[in-house]
């Protein structure tokens, strides 16, 4: 076996970090809690992976309760979530009006 390398040659990335891509946003997603059925499709298709569907256990099994959270630090406002939503519960609103 070769000796363990002690020197790193060339550039080597050792910091795992994120760019604050939320600053790019010109429109932001707004969720209508009334229409949302917590299907999780927006979470599945979000390219930045910032949508989280949080489901809570309820006694009535037919009605799902919970909420959808979007991390606005990284959301680029692409609008894919609003486009894929089968119940039209997401609307993209102007960032200046938010």
């Amino acid at each position: 076996m070769a000796e363990k390398v002690k020197t790193i040659y060339g550039p080597c990335a050792l910091v795992y970090c994120s760019t604050k891509t939320g600053t790019w946003r010109i429109v932001r997603p707004q969720i209508d809690g009334e229409k949302c059925v917590l299907c999780g499709i927006c979470e599945k298709y979000c390219p930045t992976g910032v949508v989280n569907t949080i489901k809570m256990k309820t006694e009535d099994k037919k009605k799902a309760e919970g909420r959808v959270e979007i991390d606005m630090t990284y959301c680029k406002g692409c609008g894919i979530c609003a486009n894929v939503c089968p119940h039209d519960s997401i609307t993209m609103i102007d960032e200046r009006e938010a």
Partner: protein, 301 residues
Amino acid sequence: MLTIKDPTKGLVAHGVSTCAGCGLELAIRVILDVMGENTIIVIPPSCSALFSGFGNETTLRIPGVQGNLENTAAIAAGVRAGLEYQGKGDINVLGLAGDGGTADIGLQSLSGALERGDKILYVCYDNEAYMNTGIQGSSSTPMGAWTTTTPYGKPVKRKNLMQIVGAHGIPYAASASIGYIDDLRKKVVKAKAAIAEGPAFLHIHAPCPTGWGYDPALTVELAKLAVSTRCWNLFELVDGSKVNITKKVNKVKPAEEYLTPQKRFTGIDATTLAMVQTQIDKDYARLELLAGLSCETDSAA
């Protein structure tokens, strides 16, 4: 050791400098979610290089190598050989390159790795041009599409990369799309299992809002439209011979429906459009024929 500055839920950081609505970003999250932490990634200079980061910053939590444009598969094969020599054969090696780095520049090294049977997973995300360097046409650019090197629309048809890969007779090759996430996930699982025997290849359709000229919100919709117009077919090639169509389209839409929302096809004339449609029909007929043939050989065996 890797310092984690911003924690994330997966292996890819949330804030990556890819364009809003990037198809590749969606694909890489699914791929790495399935491949897991026990993976080494090889990335050429491309849009995917945004994930390997620059300077001392990275947006991937797994180790990776940033190679050259033409040798992604060769580096991956080397990493694999090194791991096997050290007795670490359980670590997956993943090559992630674009269509230019696969179908044009990286084709010879990919072909070499597939021929040698190196146990690597090679993923080609296809955004149908050299997007990172400024939308130059590649051999995967479809007929009639505008790019900076084909200002009047590409006059010739695209390369059939899946057939080239399939000709090597590798254990598993599949075409997938970001419009069908569950299907993509299943294929990555299958490919991950297949690399125990030999190379696996995935060809993923990843729409690019910047290069194709459409509203970023339409990324997933367009990926789905490409499948329902048969501009992009979802199928698997097992052992290079067995063709399995994974998404059968019953109500086929005319290709025009997929092309019109994209700015890169605005200059397309009726003659080219008819040629594109004929080509699509021909390709699908061929694919169906191959799928039928492999069914027959199955029942004969």
